[in-house]
């Protein structure tokens, strides 16, 4: 991988550290999706299926922690909605403003804090943390960027953070 210095556009520089695209989930956390998710991976953890176990261990039912992003994926259709809402919009903004048409996610880290419970209405926002100098990899020439997606519950308590590393690039001309 080689590195090249090139100025980062001021608009993108200005996004670094800024809280963007704050939104509330379209619906409350609900157990139907919890059970569908558990069924999809045959997860028999009694926290999700056994009321008594959930009461004793977690003070009542919770959602599997890894479902944290599920509560923000938009419905495939909603009345009066123009266009398609994009999860991780900052990633697509970086692609567009940096003129990098292709992109891959290379790493995803999730940190879990307060448990998410049925009935919670979560909020989220995105923060661009960094953008690298131009680099050339086997995919092409482009930049790596790191985006944090924060999640809080209706009490303002953090329930988790997802950190994505993306690489936006242009394919090398053949």
């Amino acid at each position: 991988m080689s590195e090249t210095d090139a100025a980062l556009p001021a608009e993108v520089q200005g996004w670094i550290g800024q809280k963007r695209y704050e939104q509330e989930g379209e619906f409350d956390v609900e157990r139907g999706y919890v059970w569908t998710t558990c069924a999809s991976v045959e997860n028999g953890n009694p926290l999700f299926w056994d009321e008594k176990a959930a009461q004793e261990i977690t003070g009542g039912p919770i959602a599997p922690p890894t479902m944290i992003s599920v509560w923000f994926r938009p419905h495939a259709y909603a009345p009066n909605r123009a266009g398609t809402a994009q999860p991780l919009q900052v990633h697509f903004d970086c692609k567009e403003k940096l003129g990098l048409p292709e992109a891959v996610m290379t790493d995803n880290t999730i940190t879990f804090r307060e448990p998410v419970r049925p009935g919670d209405r979560l909020r989220t926002w995105q923060v661009l943390r960094s953008v690298s100098p131009l680099k050339t990899t086997k995919l092409g020439t482009g930049r790596f960027w790191v985006i944090d997606v924060e999640y809080v519950n209706q009490k303002g308590e953090s329930v988790g953070t997802e950190t994505y590393t993306g690489f936006g690039y242009k394919r090398e001309a053949k």
């Binding site: 999809s40 991976v41 997860n43 056994d50 176990a53 479902m67 992003s69 790493d107 879990f112």
Partner: protein
């Protein structure tokens, strides 16, 4: 309530292997996982799209559902008192219908933090044949002794980042 598994930190040491989990993936596995995670993108349910737009042989497991598989694998081992603190994924290759995916994992570190929380670090991977498809480093809290419950920890007593 059936008897539940309780793994305490004194039962774990670095180098321990987790029991292997093998699962035969079908198109239903992929589609159910995508819909459960509200991922409507066509490469997870439309074989024609996957082949002609993505250039791969079939629909493939999406990342959020793989996270759910890793969670299930880790907490099958810890029991319900195991509380995930952090998971880091690196996607290397795809899992397709017809694949037999195999989860394997090892304990890499066992610690107790300043707040008295017991942590187990795991290196987990899902493989198809000899190919590693996804790697996951997981940090999971387990009870330090009978009566300790990681789920009861809040604020400064819950430090998943370290």
């Amino acid at each position: 309530m059936n008897a539940i598994r309780v793994l305490t930190i004194d039962q774990v040491k670095a180098g321990d292997a987790l029991p292997e989990l093998a699962y035969d993936v079908t198109a239903t596995t992929v589609v159910l996982g995508a819909l459960a995670s509200r991922d409507w993108r066509p490469m997870h349910h439309d074989k024609d799209f996957a082949q002609h737009r993505n250039g791969v042989r079939d629909i493939f497991l999406n990342t959020p559902n793989q996270a759910a598989w890793f969670e299930r694998y880790v907490t099958d081992w810890t029991g319900p008192y195991g509380r995930l603190g952090r998971m880091q994924f690196r996607m290397k290759d795809s899992v397709f219908p017809g694949d037999r995916m195999v989860f394997r994992g090892e304990v890499t570190k066992v610690t107790t933090d300043a707040g008295g929380c017991g942590w187990v670090e795991l290196a987990v991977r899902v493989m198809v044949g000899d190919k590693v498809c996804t790697e996951c480093n997981a940090r999971v809290a387990v009870p330090t002794a009978a009566g300790d419950n990681p789920w009861a920890r809040r604020d400064e007593r819950w430090q998943p980042e370290a």
